[in-house]
């Protein structure tokens, strides 16, 4: 495990990775309505490859809808969403699994399978894709080492702390070596110590070149990350600061 960060201290300078200019995520006037209610309205934003972007806002601001559109859990009612140059509206249902293997997703409630051990949960992401057991072992060992869960691989989720569960979920999300890691309120269920551990882990993953999209309403962590912040309100993008703080 890398150095442990003090809560509240700024992220180390080494975390500042030179940004690539290639757009990896692009929302073009994307909107999503449920009946007459707009969960997301005319969202236009570009996220470049290798960026660490925090999407902030209160509950109902449209953060989760943004994530749902990115993982293709929902389709936009209007506008378009591009990932790595591909319009997600053009994705056929049968192409979705292959698309999802290229993005990692982490959720607030971890979404670990309770009847599987940490190792099995992580390996499961590759098992469902038909990867051989030898390859699964090789890649699982790598991500387990990255999230520092080597001693917990035989434990079941309910035997882990919240932080460990989230690290297991992150390991599972990373096992496909995705270009993008989407974290939807990953620290929502965690205490401050575990919260900062997870943020530090996300930061390290970003240093390796993975684009991070962090959806959160935790002011402390956004301020501490001190990277690009997109503020949402009432389903709209209201501000986009390259190195910002969570300002309401």
């Amino acid at each position: 495990m890398n150095e442990v960060l003090q809560i509240g201290s700024p992220l180390p300078k080494s975390a500042e990775k030179p940004k690539k200019t290639e757009a990896i995520i692009e929302f073009k006037e994307a909107g999503k309505s449920y009946g007459h209610t707009w969960a997301l309205k005319d969202a236009t934003l570009v996220i470049n490859d290798g960026e660490f972007v925090s999407v902030v806002g209160q509950s109902g601001a449209g953060k989760t809808t943004l994530v749902k559109l990115l993982v293709c859990q929902e389709r936009p009612s209007h506008g378009s969403v591009f990932v790595a140059g591909r319009n997600l509206a053009d994705l056929k249902d049968k192409e979705l699994p292959y698309y999802r293997r290229k993005i990692g997703v982490v959720f607030q409630d971890f979404k670990l399978l309770p009847q599987k051990t940490v190792y099995e949960n992580i390996a499961f992401a590759l098992e469902v894709c038909g990867v051989t057991n030898v390859e699964i072992k090789r890649r699982a060992d790598k991500v387990i080492d990255l999230v520092n869960l080597g001693r917990r691989i035989k434990n079941y989720p309910d035997e882990l702390s919240g932080g460990e569960r989230q690290r297991a979920a992150i390991a599972r999300a990373l096992i496909h070596s995705p270009r993008i890691l989407i974290a939807d309120e990953p620290t929502g269920n965690l205490d401050p110590v575990n919260t900062f551990e997870i943020i530090e882990l996300l930061n390290r993953i970003n240093q390796r070149g993975t684009t991070i999209l962090l959806s959160t309403h935790n002011r402390q962590i956004v301020d501490r990350i001190n990277r690009r912040v997109i503020l949402m309100k009432g389903g709209k993008v209201v501000s986009d600061q390259q190195t910002g703080k969570y300002v309401i």
Partner: protein, 304 residues
């Protein structure tokens, strides 16, 4: 291949892990198979019983005693034999008729006056046709072909009325049994559908996770299909065990043995004789229902 084995392993694990739901689904499926099997057995039993009775339908032709020689009778028999509808023909001379009469359970006062020396019993032939429905036409034809007038008047007995009504009754029973089985079978299929939907609903998180990590629809669906097939296989086994032993319990009662015996059916040996057919039908129906209900139930979770 590795992926295929993984799907089977996952399906099997789910089957074993969710014991309560597995038991419920298997028992409901057993009920469905039982309905289908009972309908099948009733159909087979009735078919065989009707066939037995149909084979007993015949026409008995009695010949005049006076001045009719055996040669003339044999001549008529030869002509009858040329009819393609005739399945078998048996001639009873006076001695044979007497022997049969002697074996009848009749009062001695009726039997005694009839002896070898005083034998009024007529000679006869019993004719079985391959198509009992055509018996009346055959008898009419027989009468017209009797140019020598050797058949006594009103001496053609058609042994078919009872059989016809019996056939009609058994056909009605058969249709009712099939209709009831279909009705209860449909109810049972809905029950199976519901319990499998409950099983799948309970695991919607698992499906969601599988989809988030990039599992193809086929991979998500696969273990549920395996589970459905396992319900079908185990239900077929349970149904077969039940059908194998249940008739033994019923027919241990002497009165039941009498009833089945009268119809020329040995119910205890009947099911073992048709066991392979029953197992095949149950397995096919069980697997098809289990797999298709699983596919149907999981489909709503596979939409984007």
């Amino acid at each position: 291949m590795e992926n295929f084995l993984r799907i089977i392993k996952l399906g099997y694990k789910n089957f074993v892990r969710n014991r309560g739901l597995t038991l419920g689904a298997t028992l409901l499926m057993t009920q469905t198979l039982m309905m289908v099997s009972v309908a099948l057995i009733v159909t087979l039993l009735i078919r065989d019983t009707v066939e037995t009775f149909r084979s007993k339908i015949d026409v008995a032709v009695f010949f005049r005693d006076d001045a009719v020689t055996d040669a003339k009778i044999q001549d008529l028999i030869s002509r009858i034999k040329t009819d393609s509808n005739v399945k078998s023909i048996e001639f009873y001379d006076k001695n044979k008729a007497l022997a049969i009469f002697g074996g009848l359970a009749l009062d001695e006062s009726i039997k005694k006056p009839i002896s070898q020396d005083n034998n009024p019993l007529p000679r006869s032939v019993q004719i079985k046709t391959s198509n009992p429905e055509q018996l009346q036409a055959f008898a009419d034809n027989l009468k017209t072909s009797d140019t020598d007038n050797i058949i006594c008047d009103s001496c053609i007995h058609l042994n078919k009325d009872f059989v016809s009504s019996f056939t009609q009754v058994t056909k009605s029973i058969q249709q009712a049994a099939i209709a009831l089985s279909i009705f209860f079978g449909i109810i049972a299929i809905f029950n199976v559908l519901n319990i499998i939907q409950i099983t799948i609903n309970a695991r919607r998180d698992e499906i969601e996770i599988m989809r988030y990590v990039g599992a193809s629809n086929a991979f998500v669906r696969g273990p549920f299909i395996v589970e459905g097939i396992l319900y079908g296989i185990f239900s077929a086994i349970l149904t077969t065990i039940f059908l194998y032993f249940a008739p033994m319990l019923v027919t241990n009662r002497p009165d039941m043995q009498d009833i089945f015996g009268k119809f020329g059916v040995n119910i205890v040996s009947y099911i073992p004789e048709h066991l392979v057919l029953l197992i095949c039908v149950q397995l096919i129906i069980g697997i098809v229902i289990g797999a298709s209900v699983s596919i149907f139930s999981v489909r709503k979770f596979l939409k984007a």
